[in-house]
């Protein structure tokens, strides 16, 4: 592995909706931008899985104030108010920017943006991207390619941030990564860095995200000294498919079960309906489903049955409603969503916590910016449908502009030799040249360890948590980390997927420790964080949890709003 050097003004890590928007903003502000993505842009990342709903207060009776009030109420009052206000006031402007970049929205007969009303919205507030998340990523990707100032490197895996040499300690001066095509370890100096790496939902055995979502950026920021907030706040979507195996991770809309839509339900193994009508909001629905599963009412593969086959609306209405790419995908797998019972369980869907930012995406580390989904505290303890995409655009644009301002006012800094050596070695020590292997990971090791981690996290830090379980989980994570210690994979140049597996599993373990510590600290139940030993919401926890690195230890604390 040789070391290659590159330089840029603004460096964006991650090419989903957030990173692409940040790159566009920085380039339009006049900066040279390099965007790195560990898979191919528009063919990897969470954005592609998005249904495509986006919140913007465009209805004549809606307002920024109502948007803010809904966000705070549905987030159980622990969203950061200034971030939520920024989201509410700038989402509509971002819709126009998106159209300028070529994103298309669904329009009604009069040619107006079609608005839908989702649970928790006091006015219809969701507009819909044509082509869903895939359409969104494709349009933003094309806009970046048209922009002369943006260079995109696909298949580039960032492994860590690099610090500046003294006297600029605690300033980020670049990143280290692996060009997966050539295998070269690459050092990139940048004036400013924007993290846009998405969530970490792969930590849970049941999740509806692609394999990329392991929380790299969270750990990069954490290792560099940034504060993470509300890491216990993960949104569980009620109905993620657990069977058949080839469909694992796809989801079916729990919202469609509402009386006004398809009027279906989720049933237990004996055919008893699990959800009351009117349909409860997401966090309540997933708890009811979890209880039914705990009571042994689940089916063969641990899930409950999503079913709309006996809808009073009639099969034609059902088929019409389900005529969407995501349901046609199920049909290709031999499952007919209009007539079959589909085994589902609550699964990790969105990370509401993350890197602590201000409204400009500043992280508190000089030169380092971040944007949701990997940045947190915009939503609190629950997220309204359509806020995910809106946040990537509003805060992506802001982080991109702030990073470009920083880049215009600051020179490229020298890299800290220690930081560079550590980051280089952290990767090199995972590679064995043929023959020299002492603790070579065998094929079975990593998938098994990963599975073990995911299942224990699901069990103890899933929908229902308590002290004993979280303690147990902490031990398990420690064991998995121990098993990974000194593990190596073969040094191969081109597309070393085994190396990615190993490094990503290590990252998942680190994320797990932060989730466990934060979940232990918050001794109450609020939104998607349910503690069976503290089932009440408590006034004194009207605050964030925060974690920062203190040497090799994580320091957890409550943080005032």
């Amino acid at each position: 592995m040789g070391t290659v050097r590159l330089e840029t003004e603004v460096l964006v890590v991650g090419g989903g909706a957030a990173g692409l928007r940040a790159a566009l903003a920085a380039a339009e502000a006049g900066c040279r931008v390099l965007l790195l993505n560990k898979g191919p842009v528009a063919r990897s990342g969470i954005t592609l899985t998005a249904a495509g709903g986006m919140q913007a207060p465009l209805h004549p009776e809606d307002s920024c104030e109502l948007f803010l009030a809904d966000t705070l109420r549905c987030g159980y009052e622990i969203a950061d108010k200034s971030l939520a206000w920024t989201l509410a006031t700038e989402a509509a402007g971002e819709v126009r920017e998106m159209e300028r970049y070529g994103v298309k929205f669904v329009r009604d007969e009069r040619g107006e943006l079609a608005l839908g009303r989702f649970p928790g919205q006091s006015q219809p507030r969701n507009i819909f991207v044509k082509g869903g998340g895939v359409g969104l990523a494709a349009a933003l990707h094309a806009a970046c390619k048209r922009q002369g100032n943006i260079r995109i490197l696909d298949d580039f895996f960032v492994t860590g941030l690099l610090q500046a040499a003294p006297p600029d300690a605690r300033t980020v001066a670049g990143v280290m990564g692996i060009n997966l095509r050539s295998g070269e370890q690459t050092m990139i100096r940048a004036r400013s860095v924007v993290l846009a790496t998405g969530g970490c939902q792969q930590l849970w055995a049941v999740n509806d995200c692609p394999s990329d979502a392991v929380g790299d950026g969270l750990i990069h920021a954490y290792r560099a000294g940034a504060e993470l907030v509300d890491m216990e706040m993960v949104l569980f979507y009620p109905s993620v498919i657990v069977w058949p195996p080839s469909l694992k991770g796809a989801f079916v809309h729990y919202e469609f079960l509402a009386e006004a839509i398809l009027d279906g339900n989720v049933y237990d193994k004996d055919g008893q309906a699990v959800l009351p009508k009117p349909l409860p909001v997401r966090d309540q629905a997933m708890l009811l489903m979890h209880r039914a599963i705990e009571q042994g009412r689940s089916g063969e593969h641990g899930g409950l049955y999503w079913y709309v086959g006996d809808s009073a609306k009639g099969i034609d209405v059902v088929r019409k409603k389900l005529d969407l790419a995501q349901y046609n995908y199920l049909k290709a797998h031999g499952v007919d969503p209009a007539t079959d019972k589909i085994e589902v369980a609550p699964g990790a869907h969105y990370l509401m916590g993350g890197i602590s930012i201000d409204s400009n995406g500043e992280t508190g580390i000089a030169g380092l910016f971040a944007t949701p989904e990997c940045a947190g505290n915009v939503d609190g303890a629950n997220r309204l449908a359509g806020s995910g995409i809106a946040a990537t655009q509003v805060f992506g644009a802001r982080a991109g502009r702030a990073a470009s301002r920083w880049a215009s006012g600051n020179a490229l800094l020298e890299l800290d030799a220690t930081s560079l050596a550590e980051e280089t070695e952290r990767i090199r020590c995972r590679l064995s040249s043929a023959g020299s292997a002492t603790n070579r990971a065998t094929a079975a090791d990593l998938p098994l360890l990963r599975r073990r981690l995911q299942e224990t996290v699901q069990l103890y830090a899933g929908v229902s948590r308590n002290q004993a379980g979280l303690d147990r989980l902490r031990e398990e994570v420690g064991q998995v980390r121990l098993a990974l210690q000194g593990k190596q994979v073969a040094d191969r140049k081109s597309f070393n997927q085994a190396l990615m597996d190993l490094l990503q599993l290590e990252t998942l373990c680190e994320v797990a420790e932060l989730v466990v510590g934060s979940a232990l600290l918050r001794e109450e139940s609020r939104g998607h964080h349910y503690r069976s030993d503290f089932p009440q919401t408590r006034e004194r926890w009207l605050c964030h949890t925060s974690v920062v690195r203190d040497g090799e230890k994580a320091r957890f604390a409550a943080k005032p709003l």
Partner: protein, 113 residues
Amino acid sequence: MEQASGKIHIKAYRFDPANPDQAGFQSYTVPTAEPLSVMALMAEIHALDETFACRTSTCFKGQCGSCLVRVNGRDALGCVTMVQPGETVTLEPHSKYRVVRDLVVDFSQPQEG
């Protein structure tokens, strides 16, 4: 739960630019009682043999093309192409793009010639 007959046999194309002369097919057997998409199958092969490379990121919709691959001599979306237990399937890189390694291609570069 796996039935004795529950196996999918795969002939997978292997290519490493470091050893282009050794390019060729390798046989794998994946035990499964359930049908699998080609994409799920590729992930299973990678779990059996970590040196086998494939793309794993999915959109769950058959829309993005992350899973483009050649199945039994035809270019296809791997995530919506199903293989039944008992079947044998040949997997090659998608014919339109340059191969990076094994079944991983570079979507930004068309295959030459």
